[in-house]
Symmetry: C2
Subunit: 119 residues, 2 copies
């Protein structure tokens, strides 16, 4: 299933959705969204980078697998499976993947740009 | 650390936060929140139940471990590690834990009632 069929879908199996290859060792899978909330899996190979960036959307991320050095504003911390980070609106943040891993990123409101730029 | 010190905290290790025992095989750990977003871990023993209920808050849940029979309105589906469900505003939903598991629940806005009822 393409994520464009996902809007407002309620019970989603991982196998329902295809990965999008973003290149440089990073893959993305939009799992669920409506206007106010979006849940996205992002898989990183070791040493892959989520470049420092910001956005007005609130973001919370759950480390589902692996290990990441997470930068949040002026802070930096290594987060492992089971840990969480919160990116407030417009705060610059990024990750470096230390051990192959998976982030579950949640956004409020949803990332309209993810839908536009995806195939 | 008690979750009351969490508001707006950005980089949170699992070990920073204590579990709250909700009884009947269910434990909860509020990992992060601000006014618009809250991320909560809920651990279930096998056969533990998240009773059918509803709330105006949007909810997305990531199955981090185990297996759950998830009811959403008139639908029912077994979801396993890596799967996701979305509870739209006021839609009745609930879970039965089939294999000991962990849900990562995200709410928009945050669940004020979780802060009030917790110790």
């Amino acid at each position: 299933m393409n994520f464009k069929d996902l809007n407002n879908k309620a019970l989603i199996s991982d196998s329902d959705i295809d990965w999008e290859d973003l290149g440089a060792g990073v893959k993305r899978k939009i799992m669920a969204y409506d206007d106010n909330l979006m849940l996205v899996k992002v898989e990183f190979e070791k040493d892959a980078i989520g470049s420092i960036h910001n956005h007005p959307h609130l973001q919370m991320s759950y480390v589902a697998k692996g290990s990441f050095e997470v930068t949040m504003g002026d802070d930096k911390k290594i987060l492992n499976q089971g840990d969480v980070f919160f990116a407030p609106s417009n705060v610059f943040h990024g990750v470096v993947c230390l051990e192959a891993g998976l982030l579950v990123d949640i956004f409020n409101p949803y990332r309209e740009d993810f839908l536009i730029t995806s195939p």
